[in-house]
């Protein structure tokens, strides 16, 4: 099913539970399943990068099997609770915060409603992006890395959902790039690349591509 390899990080019982959730959702405690997935996503960035896919599969399976929304609702409300406490989370652990942002963006990417992104998540995702664009966050390569990665993945969709906020985000990014002292050259590289990426309509010209990506591989 494509999700199997992601389950490696779990103990066998949990693996069993998750596999059952994919096939027969109404037979398991979906609230528990959603919490397991969120908990793991907050710890393991590799997992959080693609956890959206598992969630999508469960949501579809539940809708098909019983026309239910229990999993999705629990997942979203748990995400919302974490979102409310994100400042504390960030203060506690940058890593967890970065995992959270990665996860919520992944959910935004995968969990569509009628092939449209969930409107309820648009502002929260932007809020997270804006937070990552703050001066104190730009100092951490971990956060900058997360910011640009997510913009590469969902920037275009976000902009379509709300272009005004994207403009505001990029004001911040330009400012950071130009004015902020103490940024590492890697950070400045990442920022410059994302500025060009968006300016190019969410893709890089071939020359820019050459500049950024063949240099790195040298």
């Amino acid at each position: 099913m494509g999700c199997r390899e992601q389950f490696q990080s779990f103990d066998p019982d949990t693996q069993m539970l998750l596999k059952t959730a994919l096939k027969d959702p109404s037979s398991v405690d979906l609230e528990k399943v959603s919490n397991i997935i969120v908990d793991q996503s907050l710890k393991d960035q590799v997992f959080s990068k693609e956890a959206g896919r598992i969630c999508y599969t469960i949501v579809q399976a539940e809708a098909k099997q019983s026309d239910g929304n229990v999993f999705r609702r629990n997942l979203l409300n748990r995400l919302q609770r974490e979102f409310k406490d994100r400042e504390d989370m960030r203060a506690r652990s940058i890593h967890e915060w970065v995992c959270y942002v990665t996860f919520i963006c992944n959910i935004f990417d995968y969990l569509k409603v009628n092939n449209m992104p969930m409107v309820a998540l648009v502002h929260p995702v932007y809020d997270c992006m804006m937070r990552l664009a703050q001066p104190d966050a730009l100092k951490n390569e971990e956060e900058v890395d997360c910011l640009v990665l997510q913009l590469h993945r969902i920037g275009e969709q976000l902009e379509k959902a709300n272009s005004q906020r994207m403009d505001q985000l990029f004001f911040l990014l330009r400012d950071g790039f130009l004015l902020q002292e103490g940024l590492t050259s890697m950070t400045r590289l990442l920022l410059l690349e994302i500025l060009e990426f968006r300016a190019g309509g969410w893709m890089l010209s071939s020359t820019a591509n050459k500049y950024y990506y063949s240099e790195i591989s040298d």
């Binding site: 019983s66 609702r73 409300n77 919302q80 406490d85 309820a120 804006m130 400012d175 130009l178």
Partner: protein
């Protein structure tokens, strides 16, 4: 470019703060008021509920947007927002489909009407009596969903395929797109649900008649439900015919008391 000053930075941060202020109101349906009814301002940290428990403004009964959707605190949670959004999209899609169906059905009659001098706009008198108010449609759809989310309905549609349905005998889902008065609509829903009970799964206690009597109260509660909260019912796994009133605040006391007895008997 070389004249760029530090002020620009402050502008950026202040625009961010300004944005934070309007932020929450956007993803809660542009309400001016927070969850507890107080107006959203700079000072309010939009963090936890515990900060917002000190009473509501007496003016907090008017939702900003139409219909029951924004009224309840529950709809500020992402789960409900997404569900409502989904329902709204489905409604719009259904409405378009319905419109096309009507226009197609009216097609052959158009010429006749034109020749009798009537204007093009009334080639569909169905179109005129089309219910398009989103709040109304949402409420009706929820009522229909409650009814369809029952074991009785499940059994019914499996037992009687559409082409074998006989009008009058077999329950038919009320048409949410037609204009009806509130009372008329609620009555139709009630009758529909009562008819559906004929397909209730057999229970251990009581006869079919008993069930109908008890479930009648459930139907009354349906009607009393002016504020469809989505806290528990609906999308969850089907409860056979039980219509739980999540808040109970709108239900007359005597129905509430009997409700406690009825609810325990219904499967």
């Amino acid at each position: 470019m070389s004249t760029r000053t530090p002020d620009r930075r402050t502008d950026a941060t202040s625009s961010r703060r300004e944005h934070t202020r309007s932020g929450p109101s956007r993803w809660s349906h542009c309400r001016k008021r927070g969850v507890d009814g107080s107006m959203r301002t700079d000072e309010h940290e939009r963090t936890d509920e515990h900060e917002r428990t000190e009473g509501r403004h007496s003016s907090f009964t008017t939702p900003e947007s139409s219909g029951p959707v924004s009224r309840c605190a529950a709809s500020s949670d992402w789960g409900s927002q997404v569900e409502d959004n989904e329902m709204r999209r489905d409604l719009h899609r259904d409405l378009q489909r319905y419109r096309r169906r009507i226009l197609a059905a009216d097609g052959p009659h158009r010429e006749r009407k034109a020749s009798s001098g009537s204007s093009g706009s009334c080639d569909s008198k169905e179109e005129e009596s089309l219910e398009t108010d989103e709040g109304v449609l949402l409420r009706r759809q929820k009522q229909i969903s409650y009814g369809k989310n029952t074991l009785a309905y499940d059994r019914y549609i499996r037992e009687v395929p559409k082409h074998l349905r006989q009008p009058g005998i077999h329950p038919k889902t009320p048409n949410k797109f037609r204009k009806y008065s509130r009372r008329s609509w609620d009555q139709q829903i009630k009758l529909w649900r009562v008819k559906l009970h004929a397909w209730d799964p057999p229970t251990d206690n009581g006869t079919q008649e008993d069930n109908e009597e008890q479930l009648d109260l459930g139907d009354i509660m349906d009607i009393e439900l002016d504020f469809p909260t989505l806290a528990e019912p609906g999308p969850q796994a089907a409860h056979a015919g039980v219509m739980e009133d999540p808040e109970g605040t709108g239900t007359p006391v005597k129905v509430q008391r009997m409700d406690a007895a009825a609810a325990s008997d219904v499967v």
